[in-house]
């Protein structure tokens, strides 16, 4: 090994990173490592549950530590392989990313525990838990990365694992749903890649902090509005916003209910995360130009999602439309774009991750207790399982946005923000959508819970199971707690939104010695 004659130390990180900085990388590495171990022990199906739950619990712990660190000291960055940004791929966690990562980890843990009961030995042998780990690696990576091409790679990681989860069981219905899901999501990520190509041509860098710093200089000459429009289209497709939302109701009800829960809670929110990250932090001026388009799409998404929920008989498809209605609300925050509105969107995303997962799990449990997925076949659940019914009611109210539950605060923030800028029609859309969702969900409660069973079936004794009670109970408790004591989360999401609108702390964390030339 001859010593290099050129001095490359100027391009290297020479200070050794603080041990706490590792928290940015560890969630992803942990999930990949656990996924690898699970793939290696694929024959011993019995071990899978234990290993996976241990991994997810560790993930919750790591993400909590990261959140504490970020909220006390500001954004944290680690660069791969000692290369200074923008040469090395940077992982940067700010408050927004670490909040989302933390909440998704909680939800994944809950879904993992629920899966212990829901996924049988066949599903496990097929690889449910390895896929779950890799899905979480993709989700955490997407939330924590600071490099836009890396974001694309994590999108693909989570997409590939979601394909595997979606066809778990290989029923004809699943294959039908998976085909539509796969084709449209693939086109969506390809659009994202096209946008990255143009972005690289314009900026010559892929590091988000670098882009945020350079955007103001290039604004006069470069076609940034077109670029932003491409990004918005790609992410709207991932997030299932109108008019590119039709893959969601076609596919989300086909897999096992745990898988639906994970998808409904996490995947669309990753799209929203990327949308907020790119439009609000990187291209705020261009977002302003396109805000009317986004607002119209948001309003239509809300109303169409809510109307779709009203028209469904199948419980899972109904929840799918409720997910879409929520996406509309988050898009509204992006369209308005003031820090208050973005903080409303972030709040809504956090609430939606928890509530939508819980709603799918409720649908699964209702089907197990009542023996049908359809509203016409269900009935009498209240008599059978009063505690479960109470939790369901709480979650229904939360999803509809009624006080005193978690859905209220983001809706209030978004309403106020849209009235502040005089977009009364957007506010009206939010209210109308919330009203219709309330109707749809209260009808579910009436028909499936209050109504006596349509035909008196033999009273099956269905044992209570901690693997169902705990996840559902914890998610419901989380939703109620957030509704009753919103101060901490409100404060965190406001700070996250400010950090996005004014990303100087983010840029400083990537480039401690000033921005790159």
């Amino acid at each position: 090994m001859a010593a290099p004659s050129t001095d490359i130390s100027a391009a290297l990180v020479l200070v050794s990173p603080h041990l706490a900085d590792w928290l940015v990388v560890l969630p992803v590495a942990l999930m990949i490592g656990f996924g690898a171990v699970l793939m290696m022990v694929r024959k011993s199906v019995r071990l899978h549950g234990t290993i996976a739950i241990t991994g997810l619990a560790l993930l919750v712990f790591l993400d909590a530590a990261l959140l504490v660190r970020v909220s006390t000291y500001g954004p944290v960055t680690m660069v791969m392989g000692r290369w200074l940004p923008p040469f090395g791929i940077a992982f940067t966690a700010d408050l927004f990313g670490s909040l989302m990562a933390f909440v998704s980890a909680i939800v994944a843990l809950a879904a993992g525990v629920f899966a212990l009961r829901d996924i049988d030995a066949g599903g496990r042998r097929y690889g449910f838990f390895p896929f779950l780990m890799l899905l979480m690696a993709g989700v955490s990576g997407a939330f924590l990365t600071g490099d836009i091409f890396n974001l694309y790679v994590w999108f693909e990681v989570l997409l590939i694992s979601s394909f595997g989860l979606l066809i778990l069981g290989s029923e004809p219905e699943q294959i039908d749903g998976a085909l539509k899901y796969a084709v449209l999501n693939l086109i969506g990520t390809t659009l994202f890649l096209i946008a990255i190509g143009y972005l690289y041509a314009i900026f010559g860098t892929l590091n988000m902090a670098d882009i945020a710093g350079k955007a103001s200089r290039l604004r006069e000459t470069a076609p940034l509005v077109t670029l932003t429009a491409l990004f918005i289209l790609a992410f709207a497709m991932k997030a299932a916003a109108f008019p590119v939302n039709f893959w969601l109701p076609a596919s989300y009800h086909t897999p096992r209910i745990t898988v639906s829960a994970l998808f409904g809670g996490l995947l669309t929110k990753v799209g929203i995360y990327a949308l907020i990250r790119v439009t609000v932090m990187l291209f705020p001026v261009e977002r302003e130009e396109l805000s009317l388009v986004v607002a119209i799409s948001a309003a239509l998404t809300m109303v169409i999602g809510a109307l779709g929920a009203l028209a469904q008989n199948d419980l899972r498809r109904l929840v799918g439309y409720v997910v879409i209605a929520g996406i509309g609300n988050m898009m509204a925050g992006v369209a308005i774009g003031t820090p208050a509105a973005v903080s409303g969107s972030i709040l809504y995303a956090l609430h939606s991750v928890v509530t939508m997962t819980a709603l799918y799990l409720v649908a699964g449990e209702a089907a197990r207790l009542g023996g049908a997925w359809s509203l016409s076949g269900l009935g009498g659940l209240y008599r059978r399982a009063p505690w479960f019914s109470a939790a369901s009611l709480a979650l229904f109210l939360a999803a509809a946005g009624l006080p005193p539950l978690s859905g209220l605060w983001p809706k209030v923030a978004l309403l106020k923000a849209s009235l502040d800028i005089g977009a009364w029609w957007l506010a009206a859309a939010i209210l109308i959508s919330a009203f219709i969702v309330t109707l749809a969900l209260s009808r579910v409660f009436l028909l499936a819970y209050w109504r006596p069973r349509p035909e008196p079936a033999p009273e099956l004794v269905i044992a209570r199971d901690w693997r169902i009670a705990w996840p559902l109970g914890c998610l419901t408790a989380l939703s109620i707690l957030f509704g009753l004591f919103p101060e901490t989360v409100l404060d965190l999401s406001q700070r996250a939104a400010t950090g996005l609108a004014e990303p100087s702390a983010y840029i400083r964390s990537v480039f401690p010695g000033g921005a790159a030339p």
Binding site: A29, V37, V41, G81, R82
Partner: protein
Amino acid sequence: MNTLILRTVAPVLTALMLLFSVFVLLRGHNEPGGGFIGGLIAVSALAIYGIAFGVSAVRRAIRFHPMAIAGSGLLLATLSGLISIFAGVPFMSGLWIYPEVLGVEVPLSTVMSFDIGVYLVVVGAITSIALALEQDSEPREVVAEPPPLRAKRPRKPRPKPKVEG
């Protein structure tokens, strides 16, 4: 594709290609090559073996399930990134050691172990796809018996796998 020529040549060709794949893998540090392309060469070697002798012969020859191989590679790659936590450098930094083996200095690095991990991931993942596709198209008739892998010591018959569940 069950011709005499292919069946005669396949074992030799497979062995040669596997050797070449390792060569390409190790060459990859400073010259064109690397884990990904090496892995692909190894997969094509296994695929040729599978075309000549059938899927079950390949499964026997590689002993481990392809997904387990991919998993071990993924784990190795992740661990080579994480080693740098003990050296006080950021994730995925290249770290070198130079042990002397029989008087020859052998440079070993985390870069290389990462590349070996990539090699194993590619071998595992693509073999499992290739085998699945070959299995579908395979005629049901009995394919030729492959030559014994280890001529000296006949392997003990494996205990039947226990019924899982």
